[in-house]
Amino acid sequence: MFDKEALEKIKERQEQWEETTLQQWLARLPERDELFRNLSDMPIARLYTPADIPDFDYLEELGFPGEYPFTRGIHATMYRGRLWTMRMFSGYGSAEETNERFKYLLKHGETGLSVAFDTPTLYGYDTDDPMAEGEFGKCGVAVSSLADMEILFDGIPLDKVTTSMTINAPAAILWAMYLVVAEKRGIPWTKIGGTIQNDILKEYIAQKEFVFPPKPSMRLIVDTFEFGAKYVPKWNTISISGYHIREAGATAVQELAFTLYDGFEYVKAGIERGLDVDEFAPRLSFFFNAHNDFFEEIAKFRAARRIWAREMRNRFGAKDPRSWWLRFHTQTAGCTLTAQQPENNIVRVAIQALAAVLGGTQSLHTNSMDEALALPSELAVRIALRTQQIIAHETGVVNTIDPLGGSYYVEYLTRKMEEAAYEYFRKIDAMGGMIAAIEKGFPQKEIADAAYRYQKEIDEKKRIIVGVNEYVSDEPITIPIHKIDPEGERRHRERLARVRRERDNERVRQCLERLRNAAQDERENLMPYILDCVRAYATLGEMMKALREVFGEYREPIII
C-alpha cells in the first residue's frame, strides 16, 4: 500500500527526527522509567509509522466488513445496522430470585439473557448432594430439574429473547431443559435462539469445571452440534471461550491462541463424526475477555477474526462464508476488578467495554463494580448496563465501522498478535493437538507462568493498579453489598423433594436406564435420551450420575 520511495522517505525522516527533535526532548525530559510493554509482554515502540507495516496490503489483510477475511467486522453495516446484544451474566440463589433479576435487567434495556449457574449445577450435582455443601446459589442460580428451569424462564418470551447459558460439562442436559420449557409452552425449537457454552477444553485448561474425561466430553459436544444443526438451527451449540483462560492469568496472546486452537479441535471432532463442516460451523461462537490494555485487546479481536476466517477456509475447507465468521461475545475482565475503592471499577469496565466495541463484538457483558466483593447488587448491575448504553448512544463510536483500522499501531499489533498465535499453534500441533497438550499440562503451565509474572510485576510496582499498589486509601467501602436470602435454598430443596415425590418414578428409572445404555454405545447421539429424561423430571444429578458411571471422571494433572 505504501510505495517504496515513500517508505524510504519516512524512514529517513524518522531517523532525522530521532537524532534531532527527539534527542533534544529526551535530553531535557527523559522518558519515565516504566514498562513500555503490553500485557502479552511485547515491547511497545515509542511511535508507529508506515515503516512498521511496510508490506501492508489493505485488500489482503483488511478487506471490507462482511467480506473475507473479516478483519474489519463480520457484518457489512456493523453497529450502524444493529447494536451488539447487551447481555448481562446473572444468576444467584433460587430460580425465583434469578427470574426476578432477569426481568429487572430486561426492563432496564438489556437485550439478551445470560444465565450464571451455581457450582453444584456446573458440576452436575443436585442441591442436596453432599458435594454441594455450602455452595447453593452462591456463584449463580441452582437448577436441579426441569421444575427449576420452568420457573427461571417464567414470563420470558423464549421466541423473542435469546439466552446464553454458561454451562459446560452438563451443557447438553441444561440445554435439553431449556428446549423442553419451550416445548411445553408450544414454542417451536426453530424459533428459539441462544448459546450454550459447552466448551470443555477450556475447562481442562482454565476454569476447571470438568467432569468427564476428554473423549466422552467431546462426544457429548458433537452430539449437540449434530442435534442443533437438525432441530434447533438458530442455537449456538458452543461458545469457544477465551474468557476463563484469560481470567486464570493468560496473556492476550495465550487467550487468542488457546481459544482458537480449541476451536480447531471442535471443528475436527465434528468432521470426524462425519458432519459437513458447513453444516455446523456457522453455529460455533466465541467468547473473549476485554482486559486493561486497550489497543492490545482491540488488536486481539481483529486478529481473531482474520485467523479464524483463514483457518476455516484453508485448513478445514469450509465454503459457506458464515462458517468463516468469528462471532463473539465479550465480557470485561473480572480479574481486573479491585476490592479496594470499588467505584473505580466503573471506569475500568467502561474502558474495557469500549475496547470490545471497537474490536467489533456481537454481544457484551459489563461487570459490576462490586464483583471483587460479592455478587452484584441491583444498583451496581444497572450502572454496568448503563455503561454499555452510554457507549452505544452517546460516544459516537458506533457511527463508523472499525474506526481504528489503518492505525499504524493497531495494524502492527494485530499482525503481531496473529504471528504470536501461530507460534503457539505450531507448538500445539507438534504435541499432537490440544488434548495431548492439556494432558502434558502445557497450556496450564504457560498460564500459571504468566499469572505469576503479572502478580510479581504488581508486587514490585512495575505495574500500577490504582487503589491497590498506588493511590491507596483507607476510607471504608460504602457501596451496598448484595446478600443472598437463605429462604431461596429452603424453597429450592422443598421443590426438589416434591419433584422426586410426585413424578412417575418408574418412568424416570427407565429413561435413565436408556440413557446409560445409549452412553455405552458410541454411535448413539445422546440428546434424544437426555430430552426424555428431562421430560420425565429426572434430576440433573441423576442424569449426570448415569453418565459418570459410564464415562468416569477426569483427574487433572496438578501443575503449579
Binding site: T119, P120, L122, Y123, Y125, M131, A132, E133, G134, E135, K138, C139, E203, Q207, K208, E209, E247, A248, G249, C335, T338, A339, Q340, A372, L373, A374, L375, A448, A451, Y452, Q455, K456, I458, D459, I465, V468, N469, I477, I481, E556, I558, I559, I560
Partner: protein
C-alpha cells in the same frame, strides 16, 4: 543450625475452580524458600485435614472464591484440631466479605487475605507466625 523449612499445604476446598490465586501464592511461598504442597481442586474438609496430617505441615492455606467459605472453612479447622493439629497455622484467601472475617477468625482462621494482597505480605505473615509458633512449642 539452619532453621527447618516451613511446610505449607495450599488447598482448594469445595467446588470452586478458581485456582489462579492458589497457584500464584504457592509459587511465591516456594520462591521464598518454603516447601509447598498443592492439593488440587475440589477438596472436602476431610481430605484437607488428612493431607495436612500426612504431610506434617506448619501451615494450611485455604483458597476459596465460591462464597462457600462459611460452610467449609470452620469445618476444616475443626477437623484439623480433632486430628491434634493445634499448632498448624490456618490462613485463608479469596473473595470473603469483610463482615465474615471476624467469624472466621473466631473459628480459628488466623488471617484472611483478600483480593489485592501482595504475595510479600503473605510470605512475611507466615514467616513471623510460624517462627512464633515454633518458639512457643519449644518453650512449652
Amino acid at each position: 543450625m539452619a532453621e527447618e523449612k516451613i511446610r505449607v499445604l495450599i488447598a482448594k476446598p469445595g467446588l470452586d475452580g478458581h485456582d489462579r490465586g492458589a497457584k500464584v501464592v504457592a509459587r511465591a511461598l516456594r520462591d521464598a524458600g518454603m516447601e509447598v504442597i498443592y492439593t488440587g481442586l475440589r477438596q472436602t474438609p476431610e481430605m484437607i485435614a488428612e493431607a495436612a496430617l500426612q504431610e506434617d505441615v506448619d501451615v494450611v492455606g485455604l483458597s476459596i472464591l465460591s462464597g462457600a467459605h462459611m460452610a467449609l472453612l470452620p469445618k476444616t479447622v475443626q477437623l484439623l484440631r480433632e486430628k491434634g493439629l493445634d499448632h498448624v497455622l490456618v490462613v485463608a484467601g479469596g473473595i470473603i466479605p469483610d463482615e465474615d472475617v471476624p467469624k472466621l477468625k473466631e473459628a480459628g482462621i488466623a488471617e484472611v487475605f483478600g483480593p489485592g494482597t501482595s504475595t510479600q505480605t503473605i510470605v512475611e505473615y507466615i514467616r513471623n507466625k510460624v517462627a512464633e509458633i515454633r518458639r512457643s512449642r519449644k518453650n512449652a
